[in-house]
């Protein structure tokens, strides 16, 4: 992938040969915001020919029906900031850029290859004024380990007391947040088993992640178990931090870079050949460390090397087969996390994992490639739009008749989980790895019974 976020970015012309008309637009046009991240990313803006093919891929356009809330509308706003027809602090720019989920569904619809995700981050970094209080608080907490740990521990304590289950029925933002918290309770119960594998596939470290380790620790353990069962040897990567995705998406590129450096250090130290990530958003961020730090001489090459080692856990499992487990007679549907489907372009591996589980019925989900509205902390900052995006998703899920919705990202798990609970659905959101893990546990149990 080419680097769009820095001044060295060029159109991916290699495959197109050398067109006689060089792409010189950005070189010639004066920029109204020189030196800003947006200025450096403007070659990406020029790739947009305004064809509109992105409209139907954009959840906020589908929910709000205003082209200002569509990719090409936002790109036009970015262009206007670059050419000076709108000021960087123009409220229109702010409003519609803020309203973007960052799902990058438009990228997989764009024939011109506009690097929308990078443009969005560059724009947010350029126009960055004040974020809403909620957002600032969350970003601050996630950047500070000493604040993050107690926050997540407190949340877990609440959850254990079943308080969120009660408060989750309340209307409004608080109710939804509580429902999200409650939805992080393990969705499948499984017996204990000791994973056995040859370790022949080499060493792997998992990114523990903040939310994953804080609220989905059982999924993290399951990830380690299924990787071992599929012949990886797990090594710890001590000193790892939050991946920085939340900060990058919010336009806090420096904050994101600081976290990225810490993680690069940690994963270099671990020496693991593979970095396994079970949170799609974090995986997408880590795969882009190389671009994030391209202008940092001390880290550019190391960042690229770390990025190259990152895999979504489903990619690893799909490559491995994965090993067969025991029967799990459930009806499951799969919803693709945007940062897996559109950012990482990992489409079939999670389905391959699910389909490998004996007796598991996988029913297709209409518009499974559309965003659920979670988008990091978007559902807390823009609850109305988020709810409007979630609504059709819940309707499609209901129509599948599935008891489980598999999706490999904590934000999506909580958004869909909370949505289902508040819609009084019995269905639960679950990480695909948890299902595979439960299947392995079931095999173990059956084997014990035979003995």
């Amino acid at each position: 992938m080419k680097d769009w976020s820095t001044g060295t970015g060029r159109m991916p012309q290699a495959a197109v040969g050398e067109p006689p008309l060089a792409h010189t637009h950005s070189a010639r046009t004066a920029c109204a915001v020189p030196g800003t991240p947006l200025d450096l990313a403007k070659a990406g803006i020029d790739a947009c020919v305004h064809c509109g093919f992105c409209l139907q891929a954009c959840p906020t356009y589908l929910a709000l029906s205003d082209e200002n809330d569509s990719p090409r509308g936002r790109i036009l706003l970015m262009r206007s900031v670059v050419d000076g027809s709108l000021a960087p602090d123009d409220p229109t720019v702010r409003e519609h850029i803020d309203r973007c989920l960052g799902c990058r569904g438009c990228e997989t619809a764009c024939p011109s290859g506009v690097p929308y995700g990078h443009l969005l981050e560059a724009t947010r970094a350029t126009i960055s004024g004040k974020h809403p209080l909620v957002a600032r608080l969350v970003l601050w907490v996630f950047a500070h380990e000493w604040a993050l740990r107690p926050a997540l521990s407190g949340a877990k304590l609440l959850r254990a007391m079943r308080i969120p289950a009660l408060l989750g029925k309340l209307p409004g933002r608080l109710g939804f947040a509580m429902a999200m918290l409650d939805s992080t309770r393990p969705a499948v119960s499984r017996g204990r088993y000791e994973p056995r594998g040859s370790g022949a596939r080499g060493t792997a470290s998992i990114l523990r992640g903040c939310v994953m380790e804080g609220l989905f620790e059982e999924t993290n353990r399951a990830t380690e178990r299924v990787l071992v069962a599929n012949d990886w040897r797990m090594v710890d990567a001590a000193g790892q931090r939050c991946c920085g995705a939340l900060h990058a998406h919010a336009g806090d590129l420096e904050g994101a870079r600081a976290l990225a450096r810490a993680n690069i250090d940690a994963f270099e130290r671990s020496g693991a050949e593979t970095i396994a990530v079970n949170a799609a958003g974090c995986g997408a961020m880590m795969k882009e460390y190389g671009q994030l730090l391209a202008d940092d001489p001390a880290y550019a090459a190391r960042a690229a090397a770390v990025s190259a080692r990152v895999r979504d856990v489903s990619e690893l499992l799909a490559v491995a087969g994965p090993a067969k487990g025991g029967a799990l007679p459930l009806r499951v549907t799969y919803d693709a996390p945007c940062h897996l489907q559109h950012a990482q372009r990992v489409v079939s591996p999670p389905l391959a994992v699910l389909k490998s589980i004996p007796a598991l019925e996988v029913v297709p989900l209409v518009e499974s490639d559309q965003c659920c509205g979670a988008a990091g902390i978007y559902n807390l900052v823009k609850p109305e739009v988020s709810a409007a995006v979630l609504e059709p998703k819940l309707a499609h899920i209901a129509r599948t008749g599935a008891g489980m919705v598999a999706t490999g990202n904590p934000g999506c798990l909580m958004q869909i989980g909370a949505g289902l609970a508040r819609a009084r659905s019995a269905a639960r959101a679950v990480h695909p790895v948890d299902l595979l893990d439960a299947s392995y546990a079931a095999r173990e149990k059956a084997a014990r019974k035979r003995e």
């Binding site: 012309q13 020919v49 305004h50 093919f53 764009c110 024939p111």
Partner: protein, 889 residues
């Protein structure tokens, strides 16, 4: 950037409307959030899918319901404010841009109102995305056939406005051929229903005129679309060539072989490389000079033979390789690459000019060579990606608009490309529309009279010219026609540097056209009504025409016939028999075979919109005519359409003239689309049982049989006797195609009875079945209702045992012929028939005794819009007055 403080009203002399008055009025209808007036929020609406144009609307308003649309339009009418309707804004002609006016966004009207699988149709709101219609009926064996490349995003309202095409319209036709009816709100706020969802169109084809009117005639509220049965089998082939000329020759070869592919697309090397660099990479060979993407579809039986023949033709044309898509995934990938090719150009350069010219298919090689030379001369890269089977070129030039020298060279190159295409006998736009972008080219293909006549038509729908002002027809063309628009003609950002074409269009009119013009002008002066007559075969219809003087059309020449293009241009006085004979000599046929006298002329067939058995497969005259020349009641010689198979330049005078019975103008010339005669052409007859219930059952099954018949007609026992093929009701089927295809269809028909092969001449005899002096009426209805209706009608005890009766099943049309000696019982018969064929049937009388027209035939000109069309085209009412049953003053 400052907000325009007020919106210019369209009528001179009226006070401009301040935005601060308009915004609250509109917000009261649609809600505050749905009215945008901040310039920064309007920025995204300054462009549509065509790069290079930016026009800032004053206000954008987004109604959410049909009722809100109507109220918004009425408010704008009251304040006389111009507006531009917009769907997804994916158009490629700058058609949906509003300069200083109100932009009316329809993207919130996304309801699929009704899906009727039985009758293969759906009613949808204008904001429904094209691909969503097909998705809504997925699994039902149906789809919506028009497939513009933007189908994943573009809306049906926009498809109607532009008469959108797409790769598969080569075989299936454009949007026009797939819309049964629509409801629109006219710019003055009146709601009109056009077309007929449950039968034949009566009166003027205002539906046909509306489709492709580029938002100048009104705002669509709902559309009844026709759904097409999914093909049983599809083969998608990718042929790659090291020479563009070879690819072009392969295109001609395929068409000449009589194969009608579902799609036949060409992409040249720069396009291939742009696509292969995108997320839609399809595996096209990046070193090929050109690839052809060819799809054949239809019944499984015939498909292999067609695919093999296509492959062979490609190899004979020196294709390096021919690859057949092995599964649905590969097929989808091959198509995705093609459909996203335009967007992929964004990789090459920041700006792009997109052209849409059409040339006759046989001129493809020389046109492509000329385009290449033009590109080289001006030092610009032309990327060709186009519908080769239609001759619909899309030469695109990616460039950098900020470089004035480059921009100027691109402009010159484009203008020269356009001239080459026009000189080759082509037109300026095949599917994108004129919009703003091609406004400057309109005078190159249409005479002043034609453009002025188009303005006349616009004025019928929108006398204030408030709907999409300044588009389609250059304003100066309209000016002489009285009311002037105060909206300044939108000067194109990139005004085409027009290179004059040596012979101006309409410059050389044929002698007879001049004579007809003189006669009409004289008649208008003297207020002498004229009866327009070709061969006179319609005179015995006894229509009450209040004219003594005859205007006769005698010129029967074939003006141009290029078999390789499958088009024929002939004068209106030509007999259909003569045209059919000329086509047959070249292994082709005209798909016009109307019931009635074989001596009928081309002009009369079109004027009366008469159809025959072939309409089952090929539709009626509106589906087979590419362009016409007519002399209006005002004595203007106007051309609609052109001589190429795909054309959306200008308002559709062609559809308007067809079926207008000469009351708007006299058709003097027409260009027809021809069909290649099939390898095998077999007619079989199947006798039907005598009981009505059983007959209905068989007809019901017949409807669902997988057949690709050219004609499928049900005849009653009296007709069968008259044809000498038996004395029971029969199904007649004309099975055409390659050997295996015909054999398979015979087998399918065997399930219904015992198909007996009969002479193909039976069709000629069926056409001429009516005895002289007969009374003829047509009843049309929903296809699903027909079997039962026919089952009863065909039974021996049925009401009119003395009638002759036959029906075209797929069209839902029954034609009843009453011998002259039934005159005495006509009223009684009609009464019983009316009872039997109760509403919502559509009645059309073809022939009646002179004194019965008033009593029996409702005047189709009852509506205000039709009367206004008549007034606009024939204000003195000198052409065939009374022929449509209207009251003659």
């Amino acid at each position: 950037m400052a907000a325009p403080a007020q919106i210019e009203s369209s009528l001179s002399g009226t006070t401009p409307v301040p935005a601060k008055v308009l915004v609250p009025r509109l917000a009261a209808i649609v809600g505050q959030r749905r009215v945008l007036a901040r310039p920064s929020e309007l920025l995204t609406y300054t462009a549509d899918g065509l790069p290079g144009y930016r026009k800032q609307p004053a206000i954008a308003v987004f109604p959410g319901t049909r009722d809100e649309v109507v109220r918004v339009v009425r408010t704008l009418a009251e304040l006389r404010v111009p507006f531009v309707a917009r769907g997804a804004g994916t158009g490629l002609s700058g058609g949906a841009l509003a300069e200083g006016t109100v932009l009316l966004g329809l993207q919130r009207l996304t309801r699929i109102v009704d899906v009727d699988v039985e009758n293969a149709r759906a009613v949808v709101e204008p904001g429904v995305v094209n691909a969503v219609i097909t998705r809504a009926v997925a699994g039902q064996g149906l789809h919506f056939a028009p497939d513009p490349s933007s189908q994943a995003a573009c809306t049906i309202g926009g498809n109607v406005a532009e008469n959108a095409g797409g790769p598969h319209c080569l075989k299936y036709g454009v949007t026009l051929n797939h819309i049964l009816a629509l409801t629109a709100v006219l710019p003055d706020g009146e709601i009109v229903k056009l077309g007929n969802p449950a039968g034949e169109i009566t009166g003027y084809d205002l539906l046909g005129a509306f489709i492709g009117s580029e938002g100048c005639f009104g705002v669509v509220l709902d559309v009844t679309v026709k759904l097409t049965r999914d093909p049983q089998a599809v083969r998608t082939l990718l042929a790659d060539f090291l020479d563009v000329d070879d690819a072009a020759r392969a295109v001609s070869g395929i068409i000449a072989a009589g194969i009608v592919p579902a799609a036949l697309e060409m992409m040249d090397n720069p396009t291939i490389r742009a696509v292969e660099a995108s997320v839609y990479a399809a595996g096209y060979p990046t070193d090929a000079a050109a690839v052809l993407l060819i799809e054949v579809d239809g019944l499984a039986a015939g498909i292999e033979a067609d695919a093999r023949r296509v492959e062979q033709i490609c190899r004979e044309a020196r294709a390096r390789g021919v690859r057949v898509a092995s599964d649905a995934d590969e097929r989808a990938r091959l198509w995705q690459g093609r459909k996203k090719a335009f967007g992929a150009m964004g990789r090459v350069a920041p700006h792009l000019v997109v052209q849409d010219a059409v040339v006759p298919r046989t001129k493809l090689p020389e046109t492509l060579a000329a385009i290449r030379a033009i590109g080289e001369k001006h030092g610009v890269t032309v990327c060709n990606v186009f519908h080769a089977g239609d001759g619909n070129l899309h030469p695109n030039i990616p460039y950098d608009a900020t470089d004035p020298d480059q921009a100027r060279r691109v402009e010159h190159a484009m203008s020269e490309v356009m001239r080459v295409c026009i000189e080759a006998g082509g037109t300026i736009t095949g599917e994108h529309g004129v919009g703003l972008d091609k406004l400057g080219y309109m005078p190159l293909v249409f005479s002043e009279d034609s453009l002025a006549t188009m303005c006349r038509l616009r004025d019928v729908f929108d006398p204030d010219r408030r709907a999409n002002p300044g588009k389609v027809v250059p304003v100066h063309s309209c000016r002489e026609w009285g009311r002037h628009a105060a909206i300044a003609p939108a000067p194109a950002d990139r005004a085409p540097a027009v290179v004059p074409v040596p012979t101006a269009p309409g410059g050389r009119l044929r002698e007879e056209t001049l004579r007809v013009r003189e006669e009409i002008r004289a008649a208008r002066e003297s207020r002498t009504p004229l009866r327009v007559v070709g061969a006179g075969t319609w005179l015995d219809a006894m229509r009450p025409v209040a004219a003594e003087r005859r205007l006769e059309l005698r010129d029967g020449d074939i003006v141009e016939y290029v078999p390789g293009d499958l088009t024929m241009t002939a004068r209106a006085g030509a007999s259909l028999a003569a045209l059919a004979a000329a086509a047959r000599e070249n292994g082709q046929c005209i798909a016009l075979d109307p019931f009635g006298s074989a001596a009928g002329t081309l002009g009369a067939t079109l004027a009366t919109a008469s159809a025959g058995p072939l309409a089952h497969a090929f539709g009626t005259p509106r589906d087979n005519v590419l362009g016409i020349e007519m002399v209006t009641g005002e004595g203007a010689v106007a051309r609609g359409g052109g001589r190429v198979v795909k054309n959306v330049a200008g308002f559709d005078l062609t559809r308007l003239a067809i079926g207008s019975w000469g009351t708007l103008g006299v058709i003097t010339e027409a260009t027809l689309r021809l069909r290649a005669l099939p390898e095998r052409d077999v007619t079989v007859a199947i006798a039907l049982p005598a009981q009505s219930r059983a007959t209905a059952g068989i007809l019901e099954r017949l409807r669902s049989l997988p057949l690709a018949a050219w004609a499928l007609e049900v005849v009653d026992a009296a007709v069968a006797r008259a044809l000498g093929i038996g004395d029971r009701p029969m199904v007649l089927a004309r099975l055409a195609g390659n050997e295996p295809l015909v054999a398979a269809q015979e087998r399918e028909l065997g399930a219904l009875g015992d198909p007996v092969a009969i002479e193909g001449s039976v069709w000629e005899r069926l056409r001429a079945i009516e005895p002289p002096g007969a009374i003829v009426a047509r009843v049309s209805t929903l296809p699903v209702a027909l079997p039962e209706l026919l089952g009863d009608a065909l039974a021996p005890e049925a009401l009119a045992s003395r009638t002759l009766l036959h029906a075209t099943l797929s069209r839902g049309v029954i034609r009843c012929i009453l011998p002259p000696d039934t005159l005495g019982m006509l009223s009684a018969l009609v009464g019983r028939a009316r009872e039997h064929y109760a509403a919502p049937r559509t009645w059309i009388w073809e022939k009646l005794p002179a004194d019965r027209w008033d009593a029996l035939a409702p005047a189709p000109l009852g509506d205000r819009l039709s009367r206004r069309v008549r007034d606009a085209f024939d204000p003195a009412r000198i052409l065939n007055p009374g022929i449509l049953g209207e009251v003659v003053a």
